[in-house]
Amino acid sequence: MSTATTAPASDTEPKTAAPGGSDATTGKTNPLQALLRHRGLGKILLLALAAAVLVPIVHAQWAGGMWPQALSVDLSEPLGKTSDWIIDNRDSHPLFLYFFGHISNAVVLSVRAVYMLLLALGWTGVTALVTLVAWRVAGWRIAATALLSLLVSGLLGMWVPTMQTLALMIVTVLASVAVGALLGLAAGLSDRTFRMLRPVLDTMQVLPAFAYLLPVVLVFGIGVPAALLATVIYAAPPMARLTALGLRSADTGVLEAVTSLGATGRQRLLTARLPLARKELLLGLNQTIMMALSMVVIASMIGAAGLGDRVYQALASVDVGAALAAAVPIVLLAIVMDRTTAAAGERLGAGSAPGPKWLRGPLAWAGVAVVTAAVAVVGRLSGSMVWPTDWVVAIADPVNDFKDWMVGHLYSGVPVIGGTADWAAAFTTWVLDPLRDGLTALPWWGALLIVAALAWLIGTWRTALTAVLALAAIGVLGVWKPSMNTLSQVLAALVVTLALGFAIGILAAGSKRFEVILRPVLDVMQTMPQFVYLIPVVALFAVGRAPAAAAAIIYALPAVIRIITQGLRQVDPAAMEAAHSLGATRWQTLRQVQLPLARPALLLAVNQGVVLVLAVVIIGGLVGGGALGYDVVTGLATGDLALGLVAGVAIVCLGLMLDRVTQPTERRAAKGA
């Protein structure tokens, strides 16, 4: 679960991540820490000894600080040949004619079918259907949100792109759920599959989507099939993980009982294990939807059309207002789908449906169908199948004016605090530059040693080995220097994210009202496609690594704040009470009771921060971040498989390394179970 949630999933985020995190018994932390410290000393000594022996040998062999040329492999030729082969054989080889071609056809046909259905329902029918389904599944509040969201999408002049995106999302989510559930079923029923699958799922999620856009495009060509498949690769893992988790944690007592009643394996699966895992399955669905939606804009880079394409095109003409008009429906779709599936999940436990009696049971579904059909027919009779064009509110101009005003006033020369450009320059000169120069100057074996020491102190020798191997792989791939540059950006952005995240998280944990105000802000931050704020960010912070860091911070902050808030809230009230009664001040309680007790959540926050910041590294390449992100973008833009894929793999390795260095032992132990 460590690298699971890059999803913009509001409150469900900590929940997915929790299975490992909250299992750790917080009470044991202190003696364990003492033990760790003691053992840690031994580990460090051992490592120092190894270093003392190995470093002189290594140094004599390959002098110089950079990764030695002799130890690296150049993949550009084989990868270049592969991509040439695909292009030359795509129109004739049986593999394409009889396999990929059919997949591609099936995708086009299914998306088209759903799209035609949505168009046939008309805007009245779709609005009625979505609202009624939301009402049936999640209650009237969410139904109202859904109704409002669809109307807003129409008012913004985005009805047709919204339907295109919706059609694509419906098919994508179904495909992701099918793939994920299948993998999860296999992993949930067999320990060996589970072990084999875990690293695969990890990779699928850490590998930046950009890196596999290119291979997918090579095989399928630009267009909807490629976009759909790239999204499935990204969105299926949470479904797989949660399905496996649900099946594996099914109550043994119930299973024993079912077996003793003489049920076969299949019966036990269908009647006991799957129903028991319903909650996890629904959470998996929720996560999958959110991740699929977060790919909408990225997938448009390879021709997905719809809302993402509008955002992407607006970026090309530097039009924030137009980008926002297309991004708002994406955010609204995400919020509606998230709330609906989350509410459905919560209600599974509660057992009773909200709303009047006639809204329950299969009859209600028939009712939904009838009302939808009726409304659709009314819509058709009134003559407007697509949203009426004169009901459109243009927001682009006011938004652009506001952006210009903001940039004009904040950019530079604000009294006392300076302008955003001044901050960015200072951040670049005083934080990013020294960090980058330090990491690049660090001899490669030194870097390996530091990583080994950190990973070993916090975990086991296995953890350390994985971390070291991941870092070494970067050297072998021949991208040591850009990787160190990227690492410096990730670390700098992470520090700021954590500082802000802790401050805001602590405030939110202390005040319910503040948390309520914060929630919609965080929702929007998590679901807003990054492409929308790239332009304002560049305008405020000037081209370079600073705006890249800013974009990463905006993206990673909400998850960190949420995990910290929830972690602090979950601290045993009795412990806090005890501290109060002993006369501790609020600050003392926070520092000496609340924070130590919430340690697992805080560590999880650090870990998620790493993963999310890393996920934006590539986007950073679009605003001058350079290094690996730029290489991946270049690979995609120039069709250079070797450049893009190698940089993408290097990002995965960085992710793996950072994950191992920030993952404490107890989480790992729980996770392995």
Binding site: P94, R112, G221, I222, V543
Partner: protein
């Protein structure tokens, strides 16, 4: 969570799992086949699922990430839709992948190509899946530019030999101790790193990573009347907002270009001027449709293109609206592109 299954049960579950997996795989396979029919599936014959709803005649045009292509496509789309009765879809794709998409028939035409000799060799000469569509009528030129307000004060800055004198003035946080040469999108043709090295310039190439970021940065510099040096190209609407002057680089020669083909690191001369080209999908041309004939005839000037581009990028009009305004103003221009009545 670690509940190991009883051995005998484990065996049974494995069997169940296999059955389930095989069953699901079969079902998926059957679905795929039933949806697309048995036999070979031609990957070159797949349009967008959103295209041609209701059986309309349709054309798909490639849209680049720069505004010039939006202007081309906008006007072509406007006339195809309003005069010839087509439905036009646009797909935004970067330059190189666009060739691939054109070859596969995912798009029917690229209206503005800046020169891709490798792709021409592969798709036009060898595979013959792409057919040249003639000149767009616009000459493209890449170069280094400085803002006019700065060049007016320091006229000697427009020669590369004097650039080092100004390196300090062009420093930014990102370029550190050197001067900053701002570059743009990774998909654009650039030799700037080699040029800086081979001409011995005390500059650092900073890649903005996208044209949007580069334009935003240039506008920001211009607002503050700060000096800057940037990779840029003509035709471009931004010149109307931020007047810029080209910096003279060592003269472009055939020998220098030939040397650059051998080893891109060795280039030490300016960029050539390229007559921008149109390319069409071969099957699309063979269909002999009005649309193909129209797109072949489509040819306009740099001024025309800039007029439309600026309406889009600066006045915030949609490409459709900008194209309509241009078409209303210049009916003679586009009437010449219409196919002859048969």
């Amino acid at each position: 969570m670690a509940r190991t299954t009883h051995p005998s049960r484990a065996a049974r579950t494995t069997r169940t799992r296999k059955a389930t997996v095989v069953g699901a795989a079969l079902a998926a396979g059957a679905l795929t086949l039933s949806l697309s029919g048995c036999g070979a599936a031609d990957m070159t014959k797949q349009a967008s699922p959103y295209a041609a709803v209701g059986g309309a005649k349709s054309v798909t045009l490639q849209l680049g990430t720069w505004v010039g292509t939006q202007a081309n496509v906008g006007v072509a789309k406007y006339i195809l839709e309003n005069e010839l009765g087509y439905r036009v879809d646009t797909v935004q794709v970067d330059e190189q992948p666009a060739w691939d998409a054109l070859s596969q028939g995912r798009v029917d035409a690229i209206l503005e190509d800046w020169g891709h000799p490798e792709e021409v060799q592969r798709y036009v000469k060898e595979k013959k899946t792409i057919t040249p569509g003639g000149d767009l009528g616009v000459i493209g030129h890449i170069g280094w530019f400085v803002p006019k307000y700065w060049a007016d004060k320091h006229p000697d800055v427009t020669d590369w030999k004097n650039l080092n004198k100004y390196a300090d003035e062009l420093r930014t946080a990102e370029s550190g101790k050197k001067g900053q040469l701002l570059d743009g999108s990774p998909s654009y043709v650039t030799n700037d790193k080699a040029l800086v090295k081979n001409l011995g310039l005390n500059f650092d190439v900073v890649f903005a990573g996208s044209e949007a970021a580069q334009i935003t940065q240039i506008k920001q510099f211009a607002k503050q009347k700060k000096p800057f040096l940037t990779y840029w190209y003509e035709p471009q609407w931004l010149f109307n907002e931020v007047p810029m002057v080209e910096v003279k680089l060592p003269k472009y020669t055939e020998e220098c270009a030939a040397k650059g083909v051998e080893d891109p690191q060795s280039i030490d001369c300016a960029y050539p001027s390229t007559p921008l080209q149109k390319y069409l999908n071969t099957d699309f041309v063979k269909s002999g449709s009005d649309a193909a004939e129209f797109l072949k005839k489509f040819k306009w000037s740099k001024e025309d293109q800039n007029e439309v581009s600026e309406m889009i990028a600066s006045d915030g009009l949609s490409a459709d609206e900008a194209a309509k305004r241009w078409a209303d103003k210049h009916p003679d221009a586009w009437k010449a592109w219409l196919p002859k009545k048969k």
